[in-house]
């Protein structure tokens, strides 16, 4: 049985026909061509596929597409505004928080969720916030530096 779903992705309305077991990450990547959402494990353990669903970070591999019916989704492609990088994107570039880049979109989106909800984070909050997102390249040090820079500049 296929399902017709409607959802809003990066400010644009979409309709898609999906299998009941299709996940949100596969819908975004395969049907909508939004390959900035990376699939690192498919089981919710690495965070590479993080997107914002109704403003909150989710592992899009753990969300069924049918459960995204009516939802507002932001992927990494939807973060830059009118050709300007989002401050988190700019900070990741400037601070050297990017290496192979596969975890980067998920990291930036989980950081956005974190800062949206915690405008004045404490030191240890940063690590907790991104501890569900794995990175093998950077040792997380420059990622935290980048997120901190944005938090402090908005203070």
């Amino acid at each position: 049985m296929k399902h017709r779903i409607k959802l809003r992705v990066n400010g644009q309305d979409f309709e898609a026909i999906v299998n009941p077991k299709t996940t949100l990450v596969d819908l975004l990547r395969d049907k909508l061509g939004l390959t900035g959402t990376n699939k690192g494990c498919g089981t919710g353990e690495c965070g590479a596929c993080t997107v914002l669903m109704n403003g909150s970070a989710v592992n899009s591999c753990l969300v069924l597409a049918v459960d995204a019916e009516g939802a507002e989704i932001t992927t990494i492609e939807g973060l830059a505004h009118e050709g300007h990088l989002h401050p988190l994107q700019q900070a990741f570039v400037d601070e050297g928080a990017v290496q192979c880049g596969f975890c980067t979109p998920g990291m930036i989106l989980v950081a956005k969720d974190f800062l949206d909800k915690n405008p004045h984070p404490q030191e240890e909050d940063y690590k907790t916030a991104i501890s569900g997102n794995l990175c093998r390249c950077t040792g997380y040090i420059k990622i935290i530096k980048a997120i901190k820079r944005v938090a402090e500049s908005e203070r």
Binding site: G36, C41, E45, Q89, F92
Partner: protein
């Protein structure tokens, strides 16, 4: 440093060239490719760790709608893969591990391919299997390869220098221990993915994350029985490598054969579970090591025997003694060395290359033993190291010629930042459940290429367009380290332009010149020298033309910030673009391009494993400040300190990134990571059960870049891509021993291991 000022691009932390694409989701990884008509491949893995294949029946699978191709060993040429040519891409007569490829399917989608896999019927006759290399070495052990008697790999690395027996007899102190180190995984965030596409003329394009595009092209052609020039390798963005893509593996061959048989492009992407179970890993080792010293701390000898679990097939993993031997023969001065190996086939997954290439294992045993030796000598562990410290001008027993060497500065810097003299002997004063300890460890590693292959070269082409924009076409590969940005900085510096003026092309064998591959921390050094040489050639040509234009002698001209200027008449200047256009659009016009191939002045190791395989060597020290909770066995790292001789930091932030990332991998090796392999099966094939460091596992880290300005390096740089990961586990191990007052000989030092060691120690003391 004052000499930094003379550079306008070198030593600056410019952002990576590919960073914006990576933060906006525009970077294209292999799994993002979608070609018209593309099919999806899946591999059927063995059900047994060791068995005869009696029959493979694909009839039912073929009937499933959407299945476009099924292949078995019958569809493969007889050629085998790997360093010892012992690995058929699809296994026909026998399987030797649970990760063995038995059949493969291409279908319209992954679900269909997976369903079809279940319909393939394979009849096996199980054979006795062996999983412990020491068991596999015994008489009567199941033989895994007919041609490998006693399961001994024909690769054998043995080295001898001086007179070990005499040195042993003359030593005042001798220590001997056995160490065991585990299987660990690269954990690239992107699962392995490749795409194969054949065109109408029989040419194959592979979209591959390979680290060795040109050797890959040759090996793939060999197995597909077509000329190498019929294969084009395009490397999309690579989502982590760390040595895991250093060989041609069966999955890529299978992908190409599925595409050939189906007549359609095929993508083959591993699941995370396959990534854990089926890709080669850092190999476990059992090491017997004996070391001695005179009363004054002079090192007398090292006698070392490594048993390496090769697994079922031979990839680069079996060759790691070529590099790990350096830590045995050349880290600190020691003039009597015996090193031997047994590389043993088992029915486990097979071993491959991983960041540091055996050196994390070699360094761990040597540096742990340095502390044990110091303890027995009643000498401070730092003093022992400083007494035997490597230095410039030294030729080590293996023939490594040390040019620049910042080891002493690294040791002293780390010790100072750890507050060594005060904190090292704090244990005696401790009480309560939390014990504090500090420790340090150093390494030596190739830093100027590594001649592990006939050529250690890399080609470069530097081209300027009519507007003065520069394109560097380099043979080297970008795997995430940021080397391409460093290469752009080197090219810009040599030419007198800005880094942002340089575009780097580095991912297509149809365009780029030859390179042996990205490994051995060699890219900035080797590809950097190649780029610099090509840039120098173009620059000379520009100056020649500008001499006419400005009516100045060539030798009075130079380029700075995109302008040619006269050194004696600084008011005489011309934009590079203007010079180029003038030369281009005239009678007998010319354009501006030059190429260079840099193959370093090094030698392969000879039959006795002597040889200077690198132009220069990297050194560094890491220090660990730890707390051990004696009630839980938990080791908490309070802080880490890294001092690393990088020659010259072309881009300090990128260099720090390499060291920090390497550090996290080293911390995983020390405390967290272990593939649990039971009867050939990996029972923790997920990030939930295999614990790689998260942000919460990372301690504060202080990083000091020591610049020794290496005369062989591009603007003084040495390689350091692997550096961060090599001494970490040894440093932490030494700190834990300092806290506990006794020694652990295995990794990882997970809480249960530490706790049971504490209990055993208490029982021993009664």
């Amino acid at each position: 440093m004052s000499d930094k000022k003379k550079y306008s691009n070198i030593g600056r932390s410019v952002p990576r060239l590919d960073a914006v694409d990576k933060v906006t989701g525009k970077a294209v990884y292999p799994q993002d490719i979608n070609l018209p008509g593309m099919l999806y491949g899946k591999i059927l893995w063995s059900k047994h760790p060791h068995a005869k294949i009696l029959e493979i029946d694909t009839t039912e699978a073929e009937k499933l709608p959407g299945v476009e191709a099924i292949i078995t060993a019958k569809d493969m040429p007889p050629t085998k893969l790997g360093f010892s040519q012992d690995n058929p891409p699809l296994k026909g007569d026998k399987v030797r591990s649970l990760r063995d490829e038995v059949a493969a399917i291409a279908a319209v989608d992954e679900d269909t391919a997976e369903r079809a896999l279940e319909l393939i019927k394979v009849k096996y006759k199980a054979l006795p299997a062996v999983f412990d290399p020491e068991e596999a070495m015994k008489d009567g052990a199941p033989q895994i390869h007919a041609e490998a008697e006693g399961n001994q790999n024909k690769l054998h690395y043995a080295f001898e220098y001086g007179d070990v027996n005499a040195a042993k007899a003359e030593s005042d102190v001798v220590v001997k221990h056995r160490f065991k180190l585990p299987w660990v995984k690269h954990c690239c965030l992107a699962p392995y993915s490749c795409v194969a596409s054949w065109d109408g003329t029989g040419k194959l394009t592979m979209y591959s994350p390979t680290q060795i595009p040109f050797l890959y092209q040759r090996d793939l052609a060999n197995i597909l029985q077509i000329p190498p020039s019929m294969i084009r390798v395009i490397q999309p963005k690579i989502g982590g490598a760390f040595g895991s893509k250093l060989d041609l593996y069966p999955n890529e061959v299978i992908c190409a054969v599925l595409a050939r048989k189906s007549g359609r492009p095929v993508m083959l992407t591993y699941t995370r579970e396959e990534e854990f179970k089926c890709t080669p890993s850092r190999q476990p080792v059992i090491v017997d090591i004996e070391m001695g010293a005179k009363k004054d701390g002079t090192l007398t000898f090292r006698d070392v025997f490594f048993i390496l679990d090769n697994g079922a097939y031979t990839s680069w993993g079996a060759t790691i003694p070529y590099v790990l031997m350096h830590s045995i023969t050349s880290l600190y001065k020691c003039r009597n060395i015996r090193f031997d190996t047994a590389i043993i086939y088992t029915n486990n997954i097979y071993s491959g290359a991983m960041r540091g290439y055996g050196n994390p294992q070699g360094t761990f045993v040597v540096e742990r033993m340095m502390d044990i030796l110091a303890e027995k000598l009643g000498m401070d562990a730092l003093e022992l190291r400083l007494k035997n410290c490597n230095q410039p001008g030294e030729t080590t027993p293996q023939g490594l010629k040390i040019t620049t060497c910042g080891l002493r500065e690294c040791l002293e810097t780390v010790a100072k930042r750890l507050d060594w003299r005060r904190k090292r002997n704090q244990r005696q004063k401790q009480s309560g459940p939390i014990l504090h300890g500090i420790g340090l460890a150093s390494f030596i590693h190739v830093g100027g290429g590594a001649r592990v292959y006939r050529s250690d070269g890399c080609g470069a082409i530097v081209k300027l367009d009519d507007y003065g924009h520069v394109t560097l076409i380099t043979g080297s590969t970008e795997i995430g380290t940021g080397s391409e940005t460093g290469l752009a900085q080197i090219t810009a510096e040599e030419l007198g332009v800005r880094t942002e003026d340089v575009t780097v092309i580095n991912n297509d064998t149809a365009i780029k010149p030859w390179d042996v591959g990205i490994h051995a921390s060699r890219t900035t050094f080797i590809a950097g020298n190649a780029a610099r040489q090509a840039a120098a050639k173009v620059k000379a040509k520009i100056l020649k033309t500008a001499a006419e234009l400005l009516d100045e002698p060539e030798d009075q001209l130079d380029i700075n910030d995109r302008k040619v200027y006269s050194k004696r008449n600084p008011e005489k200047t011309s934009e590079i673009g203007k010079v180029i256009r003038r030369a281009h659009f005239r009678e007998h016009g010319e354009t501006f391009m030059a190429e260079a191939f840099y193959d370093p002045p090094t030698e392969m190791e000879d039959k006795e494993y002597r040889g200077n395989i690198s132009v220069t060597y990297g050194f560094g020290t890491q220090g660990a400040d730890v707390e051990v909770d004696t009630e839980t066995g938990q080791v908490r790292i309070v802080k880490m300190v890294i001092a690393n001789d990088v020659g010259r930091a072309i881009n300090p932030v990128l260099v720090e990134g390499q060291l920090e990332g390497g550090l996290s991998m080293g911390i995983g090796y020390a405390l967290l990571e272990k593939l649990v392999v039971e009867k050939g099966e990996i029972i923790n094939p997920s990030f939930l059960d295999y614990k790689m460091p998260t942000a919460k596992d990372m301690p504060p880290a202080e990083i000091v870049l020591v610049e020794t300005d290496d005369p062989g390096g591009p603007f003084g740089a040495k390689g350091c891509g692997e550096a961060g990961t090599i001494p970490t586990a040894a440093a932490i191990g030494n700190a834990v021993a300092n806290a506990l007052g006794f020694h652990l000989f295995e990794l990882p030092m997970q809480p249960e291991v530490v706790l049971s060691a504490i209990k055993a120690q208490r029982d021993k003391r009664g």
